[in-house]
């Protein structure tokens, strides 16, 4: 059997670790009843979601004029939120695909919830451009369908169209990947329901688990498909946010047209995605008592990734700033001067502080292993990444080439309401997920029990001494 180096810290804690114990711990949240805390959180999230639906209905009924966007600042709150949510939707597939390819064992405690989060975030993201189209009932015109359907043939030169393809592909593959991992876990719940005679659960999870039998043949196929999907998803992690960045970078708007945008957006997306994973996972491990499986070491690794991607984003900020001066292009220089000293200076400096400065605190081991500090910083990073998109979009547009059209932008309560609604939807979905799906990929986690759990590691070490 594979023996891990003794200096590696265990990824499964607890003194009584066994396959059965893992099953019990993971199944508890699905089989048990929700407590008051859960219902409280769910109610708030649900109301926020309904509020968002109301604002969307108002937008559709009234028109895009209900928003604060104007002729100069044509993209504002909506696209900021779109990019913000899409970015958050990056960590899941990174964790499930890229970390699988890199054979990182610590992914197994968190991949399931991160993937779920990804899917909900992408749904939230899609709402914004779809409703910005105005006539949402013809949203299918974004697809290249024949003209008889009343559409115009789509413009393949437009990065907005590439976005449609990139995001729908990403969403599809993410859902399949997520669901694939869930199959053996659904089967576990099915089998447990059968034993206790819970007919309802047995039927639901029988349908969901696609007749999983747990035979070696099933597992071989499972692992092969996982690897193929990981291979497919890895370029998708890059492509989605690269293409989102091209929505801006292919234009000739100062502050938007810069070649570093694609990789810098990808780094920023991973950055914000991990922050959101932390926000959710820190609560989840506590509420569902999963501290033995999502350990402080997991949190620490995620914090290191935040530190790394935060610094990468910092490099990109400084590169842009420097090149805007170095290039000698006056429009480009002005765009950046306006960013940090113009009327939206507070957005720029919030972005810099939250995204570049605050993650540097994770250099201290004390801070990156402190749960409260991590939780606060994860919120700070999420805020910062929202400001980043606001800075890129609004401050670049509000003072364009023609000073006579310079203007300011501020959101209406409708726009804010839609944003609040997406947050409501996100948490409603996540809370539901935490009740009906196994939140930890228990079948995968069991594969590392003997190599990476504290109990077995101690046992192994004692054998050799």
């Amino acid at each position: 059997m594979f023996k891990e180096a003794s200096i590696r810290e265990p990824l499964i804690l607890g003194d009584k670790v066994s396959y059965h114990q893992i099953t019990e711990d993971v199944a508890r949240s699905v089989e048990g009843k929700a407590n008051k805390m859960w219902w409280g959180a769910f109610t708030i999230a649900f109301i926020a979601m309904l509020w968002g639906f109301g604002c969307l209905a108002y937008t559709v009924g009234t028109g895009i004029g209900a928003w604060g966007a104007n002729k100069t600042v044509g993209w504002a709150w909506d696209i900021t939120n779109f990019v913000w949510w899409i970015g958050i939707g990056h960590a899941g597939t990174l964790i499930s695909a890229v970390l699988l390819l890199f054979r990182q064992r610590w992914r197994m405690g968190i991949n399931r919830s991160a993937e779920a989060m990804t899917i909900f975030a992408v749904v939230c993201a899609a709402i914004f451009p779809v409703f910005h189209m105005g006539r949402v009932w013809v949203a299918y015109w974004t697809m290249p369908i024949p003209n008889q359907f009343g559409s115009l043939w789509v413009n393949f030169n437009s990065p907005l169209l590439w976005d449609v393809f990139a995001i729908s592909t990403y969403f599809t593959v993410s859902v399949i990947f997520w669901y694939l991992g869930l199959i053996p876990d659904f089967a576990m719940i099915r089998d447990r329901a059968k034993v206790v005679g819970n007919k309802m659960n047995e039927m639901i999870y029988r349908i969901l688990s696609f007749g999983w039998s747990g035979r070696v043949k099933d597992w071989v196929r499972f692992e092969e498909v996982s690897l193929v999907l990981a291979g497919l998803s890895t370029p998708l992690v890059f492509s989605v946010h690269s293409i989102v960045s091209m929505d801006f970078a292919t234009s000739i708007v100062p502050g938007w047209h810069t070649t570093i945008f694609p990789p810098y957006f990808v780094a920023g997306a991973i950055f914000s995605g991990f922050a959101m994973v932390l926000t959710l996972v820190l609560i989840m491990r506590k509420v569902l008592s999963l501290e033995a499986y999502v350990t402080v070491k997991h949190i620490e690794y995620m914090n290191i990734i935040i530190m790394l991607t935060g610094s990468l984003v910092g490099i990109a900020y400084l590169t842009e700033l420097f090149i805007s001066w170095y290039s000698g292009v006056e429009y480009e220089s002005y765009a950046f001067i306006n960013r940090f000293s113009g009327p939206y200076w507070w957005a720029y400096w919030s972005m810099m502080t939250c995204n570049v400065v605050s993650p540097q605190l994770f250099w201290f081991k004390k801070i990156r292993t402190n749960l409260m500090a991590t939780f606060i910083l994860s919120l700070v990073v999420n805020t910062g990444m929202w400001f980043e998109r606001f800075v890129i979009i609004v401050t670049s547009l509000h003072r364009d080439y023609l000073p006579s059209s310079w203007t300011m932008y501020s959101p209406t309560w409708i726009e804010v309401g839609i944003f609040v609604g997406t947050i409501g939807f996100f948490f409603t979905a996540f809370l539901t997920f935490a009740r009906v799906f196994p939140v930890i990929a228990q079948s995968e986690l069991k594969t590392i029990m003997k190599s990476s759990s504290k109990m077995f590691k101690n046992k192994n070490d004692n054998h050799h001494h």
């Binding site: 180096a5 200096i7 690269s242 945008f261 990789p263 610094s311």
Partner: protein, 399 residues
């Protein structure tokens, strides 16, 4: 099956012959009256290309510590040895830059003092705007500090690794993680700056925010190819007993993945500049795709760098086959060298380029120096680290 590598007399002869060919290339250039600008430009291509491999290996070495990675430990000495070229490469680069400041060559337009002088007929408003950045004191300050720190990190990590062989002290490993962490931060922030200073500033007016990462992706890929080829060479000689198909599979994957990363940065830079078609930016690709005649070279370089690893290294079997790896690695080394060639030449000699005996000979000469340094580094220490905490994990690495 020995733990120590010694350079055989035959190998030594080959290496000296290679360096001799390099010298002959200079003589050839003088005799044939090849324009001195073209000779200097070639020197820059080779100095930067090989220096960047040494820097890339240092980066890889540090990255392994910071990521707590174990798979590569059985061939750790190989990339350690390659990183040993960094001080030599950096020294050559510094000498090259000094030569520029002394007026011995005119590779860098911005080194010419007249371009900053409004009274001069050579006054160039675009470059004069950058005067603060190219101020000699600031320029030399950053070049020396950056390389100083890089070399310091490289020496420290190597020294500790050698020490660890003798004592097995775990604190050495832990200290190396710290060294690696600060090195990676410095590297991340300064490597793009060095690329701007040494390569991007050849086309003094041109700018691209992606350029630093583009060049970095390129030399990271070249570094992995170099590590792979040296490992194959040593394996072929019967060394590195513990290194097996699984480890080569990993190296093959690295080359595959980084080739795709390189393509990604190339494509993003190229596509965005092409799409926006802004005169200040698009000149760069007009030089390379227009009348100067680089077009075939440019596209051959791009498509081989992308397609060869993509097609050949896609399969698992190919990554476990030494012959495949050698062929792909050998070709990619040359095409990545061409990448640097196409970066430097249009801004220095315009249409007056050729890949003739001088270019090839000089490339062989520099390769000789590089191989000589790296093989000597290999000969200095046991070929497998002895007491690294992840050695056992690495030996049993299986994919």
């Amino acid at each position: 099956m020995s733990l120590t590598y010694t350079i055989s007399d035959k190998t030594k002869k080959i290496l000296f012959a290679m360096m001799g060919i390099g010298l002959l290339a200079f003589v050839y250039a003088m005799v044939r009256g090849i324009p001195i600008q073209r000779v200097w430009a070639n020197v820059l291509v080779n100095i930067f290309f090989f220096m960047s491999i040494g820097l890339g290996a240092t980066f890889y070495m540090a990255k392994k510590y910071a990521a707590e990675a174990s798979y590569a430990i059985v061939y750790k000495r190989v990339y350690e040895a390659i990183s040993g070229y960094l001080p030599i490469g950096a020294l050559m680069l510094v000498l090259f830059l000094i030569a520029g400041f002394l007026g011995l060559h005119h590779i860098y337009h911005w080194m010419d003092k007249d371009v900053y002088n409004p009274a001069s007929e050579h006054y160039d408003k675009g470059i004069a705007h950058k005067a603060a950045y190219f101020n000699p004191l600031f320029f030399w300050g950053r070049i020396l500090v950056f390389f100083g720190l890089f070399i310091f990190a490289q020496r420290t990590l190597r020294q500790r690794s050698l020490e660890e062989d003798l004592t097995g002290d775990i604190s050495l490993y832990k200290k190396s993680i710290t060294t690696s962490a600060w090195f990676l931060v410095i590297f991340g922030f300064t490597a793009p700056v060095i690329v701007w200073d040494v390569i991007m500033s050849v086309d003094t007016h041109w700018f691209s925010t992606m350029f630093g990462w583009y060049v970095l992706a390129g030399f990271w890929c070249t570094t992995m190819i170099t590590i792979m080829l040296f490992s194959l060479y040593l394996k072929g000689k019967g060394h590195l007993e513990e290194m097996n198909d699984n480890h080569f599979h990993d190296l093959g994957k690295w080359v595959f993945a980084l080739s795709v990363l390189w393509t990604y940065t190339f494509f993003c830079q190229f596509m965005l500049i092409w799409y926006a078609n802004i005169p200040e930016e698009v000149t760069y690709f007009q030089d390379r795709l227009g009348a100067f005649g680089y077009r075939p070279l440019f596209w051959i370089m791009f498509f081989i760098n992308l397609l060869l690893p993509l097609i050949v290294l896609m399969s698992r079997d190919a990554k476990r086959n030494a012959t495949f790896l050698k062929i792909v690695g050998g070709i990619l080394i040359i095409t990545h060298w061409l990448d640097v060639f196409v970066m430097v030449m249009p801004g220095t000699v315009g249409a007056n380029w050729r890949i003739g005996p001088m270019e090839i000979g000089m490339g062989i000469g520099f390769a000789g120096v590089f191989l000589f340094v790296v093989l000597n580094q290999l000969a200095k220490a046991p070929l497998v680290v002895q007491k690294h905490p992840f050695l056992e994990e690495s030996k049993h690495h299986q994919i």
